[in-house]
């Protein structure tokens, strides 16, 4: 009975911590799509009147914004525009498909977590000379080409303009995000501007932030520049939007600390309840064994040897049942991981649950300590038993 309680407590602790770790691993993996400290900047309509201009103006980022942020602001490692033709019909011979065609700078490939399979990425000279060259995602290649077909050097027809394929890439992300990446076609933003009449516009900006700089500070700086360029009210929150992975990461980190704290709280509570239960049951045992303890004392047992006797017993029960719970917890977490994997279960938010050795050791330590504490009071009670009372013939 007590053994089950302690087992359960340790089992819960190990299992919950393992599951929490799985959740954490899953979400951390979500952030692998882009370098850890990345920021997206986009625009929409103004919400406030400013300098005699009415609200509701549509704001578009342009090359000037890009150049200014790139050259004037500190703490920016890489910066690239992303000018998108979302869901564009692309033709090749008799095959076709609808893909996202994205105009970017060469530095995009330093921010995004992609893997080059064939050829090369878009480079500086592509951008400068507005070359009609493209790199395509793995899924695009699989859809438009036969498995043994030569891809590099072939042309795709995008809205009536022919582009030459110079590279094929795969995504390092997982799940939906990987699919999004691999269904994209990249080319230089300058070529997009020229071929599809975007003029000076650059769509969104993607920025990676250098080590030692805070994304919130950079965001404020960028907003200042853009507000000035486009005559936006400084307090207008709608015109310019920004999302930073660092801020998001912080939120998730806080969430995980919360979850872990809760798990530890529940598990410790269970162990504590187990300790009290052990204590109570040991008290009853001591009552039942009053006579035995009396006999032992009559035969020369010292109070300390009685304390030792009872403590040993409590410790023994604790450790045996605790180790059982520990093994069951670790085993189940391990099996869960395996089963998820073999079933091909790909949940974006749960991945590779595991138990730290340090957690296991800490659990074991908590166990031994709780065993000692649980045994202490009954043991002291037992040592106080007077042999005369115990031996009084009933």
């Amino acid at each position: 009975m007590i053994a089950i309680l302690v087992s359960w407590g340790i089992f819960m602790l190990v299992f919950l911590l393992g599951a929490g770790k799985g959740l954490q691993n899953g979400v951390e993996r979500q952030f692998q799509g882009f370098a850890k400290n990345t920021m997206w900047i986009w625009t929409w309509k103004t919400a406030m009147a400013y300098n005699g201009l009415p609200p509701g103006r549509v704001i578009n980022l342009d090359l000037d914004d890009y150049q200014q942020i790139k050259t004037k602001l500190k703490g920016i490692e890489e910066i690239t525009p992303r000018l998108g033709l979302w869901g564009t019909l692309v033709n090749r011979k008799e095959k076709n498909g609808s893909y996202n065609v994205l105009g970017i700078d060469a530095s995009y490939f330093k921010i995004a977590q992609l893997e080059l399979l064939q050829g090369r990425y878009i480079n500086e000279s592509d951008v400068k000379e507005k070359k009609k060259t493209i790199v395509i995602g793995k899924i695009v290649a699989e859809n438009l080409f036969k498995p043994d077909e030569e891809i590099l050097g072939q042309y795709l027809n995008i809205k009536g303009v022919y582009f030459k394929i110079v590279g094929v890439f795969a995504s390092k992300s997982f799940g939906e995000e990987a699919k999004d990446d691999e269904e994209a076609i990249f080319l230089s933003y300058s070529a997009v501007q020229q071929s599809f009449n975007f003029g000076n516009r650059i769509g969104n900006l993607i920025v990676s932030i250098a080590d030692g700089y805070d994304s919130e500070d950079i965001k404020i700086e960028i907003k200042k520049v853009l507000n000035a360029n486009h005559r936006i009210h400084p307090d207008d929150d709608m015109a310019i939007g920004a999302w930073s992975s660092q801020a998001q990461f912080k939120i998730f980190n806080g969430l995980f600390m919360g979850i872990n704290g809760f798990i530890i709280f529940v598990a410790l509570g269970t162990i504590f309840a187990g300790m009290i239960a052990i204590s109570v049951i040991m008290m009853i045992t001591v009552k039942e064994r009053t006579r035995e303890i009396g006999v032992r004392k009559a035969l020369g047992a010292t109070p300390s040897s009685i304390v030792l006797l009872i403590m040993q017993e409590a410790l023994f029960i604790n450790i045996i049942s605790g180790i059982f719970g520990l093994i069951a917890g670790v085993f189940l977490i391990d099996k869960l991981g395996q089963v998820l994997e073999t079933m091909g279960f790909e949940n974006e938010y749960f991945y590779n649950p595991e138990v730290d050795l340090s957690v296991a050791v800490a659990a074991l330590f908590a166990l031994i300590l709780s065993g000692l504490l649980a045994g202490l009071f009954p043991a002291i009670n037992a040592a106080k038993i007077k042999p005369i009372e115990a031996l009084r013939a009933d």
């Binding site: 006579r291 035995e292 009396g294 006999v295 032992r296 004392k297 009559a298 035969l299 020369g300 047992a301 010292t302 109070p303 300390s304 040897s305 007077k386 042999p387 005369i388 031996l391 013939a393 009933d394």
Partner: protein, 223 residues
Amino acid sequence: MISLRNLKKSYINGANAVHVLKGIDLEIAKGEMVSIIGPSGSGKSTLLNVLGILDNYDEGEYYIDDVLIKDLSANQGAYYRNQFLGFVFQSFNLLPFKNAMENVALPLYYRKIKRKERNEIAKHYLEQVGLADRWHHLPSELSGGQNQRVAIARAMANKPKLILADEPTGALDSKTSEEIVSLFKKLNQEGITIVVVTHDMHVAEQANRIIRINDGIIDHAGY
């Protein structure tokens, strides 16, 4: 060997002090077998507890072999009980989950004698009480008389100066009682000092000497 001088003890019962022992003087020589009798409430049990170092007393002196037994700490009490005394109880008080040999060896465990050695000693004493072939039996597998013999073997295992027996035949039928009393007599003839507390006159009469206690004092210490 055993010497009590003007020994007094009282219990506080609410506002009143109940005087249980009102000045006991008693000498027991080495090799004697003495029985203590008296009606219930006479102070007989209290005297036994004091003799057994299971309880303290207020006034007077108690010597075992010239060692003053007074105001002992729990550890000293445990030590002297183990060194000087062997106990035999009415209800045997054997540990139910240990076999006969382990029960007999228990006092030796508290003397920190190694398991192998104490088991050999235990077997030796079981042989003396005629249970050599029953050493591996649990108390529940033995008869009342056999259990009491195991208890006597246990009382002898640490070679005590004195064996204290509290109603040792109280839970036994008359035939078995006879056997136990004969065993005590046999041990006494081998030189062991024995004090038997009883209210069974048949048992009491087997002793060298009967001490009658009444209302906290000894009113008869004849032979």
